[in-house]
């Protein structure tokens, strides 16, 4: 490897180029000016100027989740770094690989409360996988290479490299990615073959099996998704997924039960509750999934495939823990299971499917669109109907009721097509995320299904969408309420709607126009299709303000503190006192 002398600022750009980075989301400021000067003097990396650093991280998350490559962010010191904290935390919770480069005040001023100084590595220590404060230019290249290595290996996640301004100006020796010391961070990818064999045996004898898959399958890569599909199709077992894992197994696949969890489908949750073998592939028994832990799937043997050893036995005890990368483990599992004759207890599994089909008859997502007031489910259903055949569709969401309805009514048939804030539940995630997705896929159809309250949290990014001519479709279900908050207040706070609506919403059509984008407003069910078609036809950023029923609740729902088999199905169900005191303390 040839060693070159260059400034720290140049090293940053060179290192990004060496890692194949083509887009950086960022916002300049005093402490990163030398790096911005280098960005200016090259053409290989495109820089997208966001309007707020939180937006930069979410955009990078959208980029990362839709491509499988790390998202890169460049921000200044102090407020630049602190504004990115929410995005980093979001990426940590949802295992999204992000490399954030932040400027810092010069080394000789650190600790002096200098202008725009913040203890960035201190603040971001708990919200990154790892972070580095680089105090010598000679150490800079290896730190950046190590940052990419840590972000992408093992369970992916955000990392941060904090670079004081004097380190950017000074010259040092650049080493390439191959020469950097990254060896000691090498999480195990191969699963324990004895446990894999035990799981293969369990698959042979299981009578009521279920695959419970999560975002880990998608993070593991396309090979993992292919292997999962093979395994599901060959065994004939039912498969459900978390919010993060949608698309790993196709929604139009014949073994698909739909999403599980708090707002998951009735048949998926009951199957989880009554199964005798649960095969968790890359999910983490989140509290939105388990409900009441003591009553979670009481009769099942549980297998758990996860690359993160700390996910095993954290919440739910697992009889068959397999630490490893999903693709590696599934490959071994398929091999072992096939070599043993690829057997299942087919008659028992057939009976299991009959039971599941009985549950399906409840048709837990059914609703009626009567009259002109648009029901939000109807709007999403029409959006799905009019876009599902698009060859290159990506869906982002904000956080709340609309997010759950999108997960319920929209089908992801491929991985990396669904961008949503699952673990952290960050309102304001969807819009900047859609910008990141569109940057990575300029010709694709990118739709952000939003609520008006979430959307307003990062509405400033409209400027970014217009500046870079990104034709992102903002599909806003406007109920003039914080719908999910309102729903919980109805269910467990005596219908006292404390601060869950805003009285001064903007006119979204005028708002779009003020940014130089297009705005469409729909308030009659009869006009929904035309509105959606107009949105799709417009070649540029567009807001569709869809005014919907204000008091709609999101069902089905497992009330907090209850097990899977105690679901509320809809308005007809008795929702009074559905949540007991012990459940009310949960969120």
């Amino acid at each position: 490897m040839k060693q070159e002398q260059m400034t720290g600022a140049k090293m940053v750009v060179k290192a990004l180029q060496d890692h194949g980075v083509d887009v950086v989301f960022g916002y300049p400021g005093g402490a990163v000016l030398p790096i911005y000067d280098e960005v200016f003097q090259q053409n290989r990396i495109r820089h997208v100027l966001v309007r707020h650093e939180q937006g930069a991280v979410h955009a990078a998350e959208g980029y990362a989740r839709s491509t499988g490559r790390p998202g890169v962010v460049l921000v200044t010191s102090g407020p630049g770094a602190t504004n990115s904290v929410t995005g980093l935390t979001d990426a940590l919770m949802d295992s999204v690989p992000i490399v954030l480069i932040s400027g810092q005040v010069p080394t000789f001023m650190i600790g002096n409360d200098a202008f725009q100084e913040a203890d960035t590595v201190g603040i971001t220590r708990p919200c990154t996988k790892h972070n580095w404060l680089v105090k010598e230019t000679d150490r800079l290249a290896s730190a950046i290479h190590e940052a990419f290595h840590v972000a992408m290996n093992g369970r992916p996640g955000p990392v941060l490299v904090d670079i004081p301004k004097d380190v950017q100006f000074a010259s040092g020796t650049y080493i390439g990615p191959d020469a950097a010391q990254t060896g000691h961070y090498a999480p195990k990818v191969k699963g324990d073959i004895e446990v894999v064999t035990a799981l293969a045996e369990a698959i042979e004898t299981a009578r009521r099996p279920i695959f419970y898959t999560g975002g880990g399958v998608i993070n593991s890569g396309d090979a993992a998704c292919k292997l999962l599909r093979q395994l599901v199709d060959k065994t004939g077992f039912p498969v459900t997924s978390t919010l993060m894992g949608l698309g790993a197994y196709p929604a139009n696949g014949k073994n698909w039960l739909g999403m599980l969890g708090m707002h998951g489908l009735y048949e998926a949750n009951l199957a989880m509750h009554d199964c005798d073998l649960m095969i968790n592939v890359g999910a983490r028994f989140d509290d939105r999934i388990t409900g009441r832990v003591q009553d979670f799937s009481p009769g099942s043997v549980k297998a758990h495939i996860d690359i993160d050893p700390s996910s095993i036995n954290k919440v739910i005890h697992t009889e068959l823990p397999i630490i490893g990368d999903v693709a590696h483990v599934l490959e071994d599992l398929l091999k072992v299971w096939k070599s043993r004759g690829a057997k299942t207890d087919a008659p028992a599994v057939k009976e299991w499917w009959e039971q599941i089909n009985e549950w399906r008859k409840i048709d837990c997502l059914k609703f009626e669109q009567i009259g002109s007031t648009i029901r939000p489910q109807y709007a999403i259903q029409r959006l799905e109907a009019l876009t599902k055949d698009h060859p290159d569709r990506y869906i982002c969401t904000e956080v709340g009721q609309h997010q759950m309805w999108a997960a319920q009514y929209m089908g992801m048939n491929d991985p990396k097509r669904w961008m949503t804030s699952g673990g952290l539940g960050t309102m304001g995630y969807g819009f900047p995320s859609s910008i990141g997705v569109q940057m990575a896929h300029p010709d694709a159809l990118v739709i952000n299904v939003a609520g008006e309250a979430s959307w307003l949290m990062n509405m400033q990014e409209m400027g970014t969408a217009v500046q870079y001519r990104l034709p992102v479709k903002q599909f806003i279900l406007n109920n003039e309420r914080l719908g999910m908050v309102r729903q919980w207040q109805e269910l467990l706070h005596g219908e006292r709607y404390s601060h869950s609506w805003s009285e001064a919403l903007p006119d979204f059509v005028k708002l779009a126009e003020a940014f130089g984008a297009k705005g469409i407003k729909v308030d009659d069910a009869a006009d929904v299709d035309d509105g959606i078609k107009e949105m799709l036809a417009h070649d540029g950023p567009v807001i569709l303000d869809c005014l919907v029923e204000r008091h709609e609740n999101c069902f089905p729902m497992i009330p907090s503190g209850e097990p899977h088999n105690k679901m509320l199905l809809g308005e007809a169900a008795d929702t009074d006192n559905a949540i007991k005191e012990a459940g009310a303390v949960l969120v």
Binding site: V121, G122, R125, P126, K129, H130, L133, V150, H184, Y185, E194, V195, A198, E201, A202, T205, A206, R207, D276, L277, G299, S300, V301, D308, P309, S310, I312, N313, K314, H317, E319, L320, P321, D345
Partner: protein
């Protein structure tokens, strides 16, 4: 009943692992971590304990290998068996942490703590303090006409016991290092000078 061959609630860790993971008894464990000696590594470890609500009973840290930039952190913690397992798994995820050893479960370990006691008094109590110090094999490391500083090395319980005895004899100030520990017997290459 499940026809599967795996016993519900069994563990694949070891056939001899008879712990019940659902029982809630609290255990005390001594963990030894080999970490990169770099800025912020201690903050990462402590932040993990405070952020996730784990206990720290004692903590010691010092560089053990200057050329290899390695430090050893000894943490004494308490928790239910499942919490202890989770602590070890979480520590293992921290990038500059190379090894996590649970000295409480990995065979027998020697645990030692050093403490300094300032005992102030005259006459009979002074004589009694000196006599007890002798029994505990304490060193006198400083002396004035009406005070001693004793140095005691031993297990934490020995230091507790000595402190209890010194209290009525004029114990004014006490400083403890926290526990350091090593596995007994043949050295495990990884836990030594890595």
């Amino acid at each position: 009943m499940s026809p599967l061959n795996i016993k519900k609630g069994s563990s694949s860790h070891s056939a001899y692992d008879l712990r019940d993971y659902h029982e809630q008894g609290t255990e005390r464990h001594t963990l030894a971590l080999i970490v990169d000696n770099e800025a912020g590594v201690l903050a990462r470890v402590i932040g993990l304990f405070s952020g996730r609500g784990y206990n720290i009973e004692s903590l010691t840290v010092a560089e053990i290998d200057h050329t290899g930039h390695r430090s050893r952190i000894t943490v004494v913690t308490t928790g239910t068996p499942s919490v202890i397992e989770q602590i070890k798994a979480q520590l293992g995820r921290v990038v500059p942490v190379h090894d996590v050893h649970d000295l409480t479960t990995e065979g027998v370990a020697v645990e030692r703590e050093l403490a300094l006691f300032r005992v102030v008094g005259k006459g009979d109590v002074r004589v009694e303090a000196l006599r007890l110090a002798d029994i505990f094999r304490a060193q006198v490391v400083d002396s004035t006409l009406d005070s001693f500083v004793f140095e005691v090395t031993g297990t934490s319980s020995k230091i507790d016991a000595f402190a209890e005895l010194m209290r009525p004899l004029g114990l004014e100030e006490l400083a403890r290092t926290g526990v350091v520990a090593l596995a007994r017997g043949e050295i495990d290459a990884e836990i030594g000078m890595a």
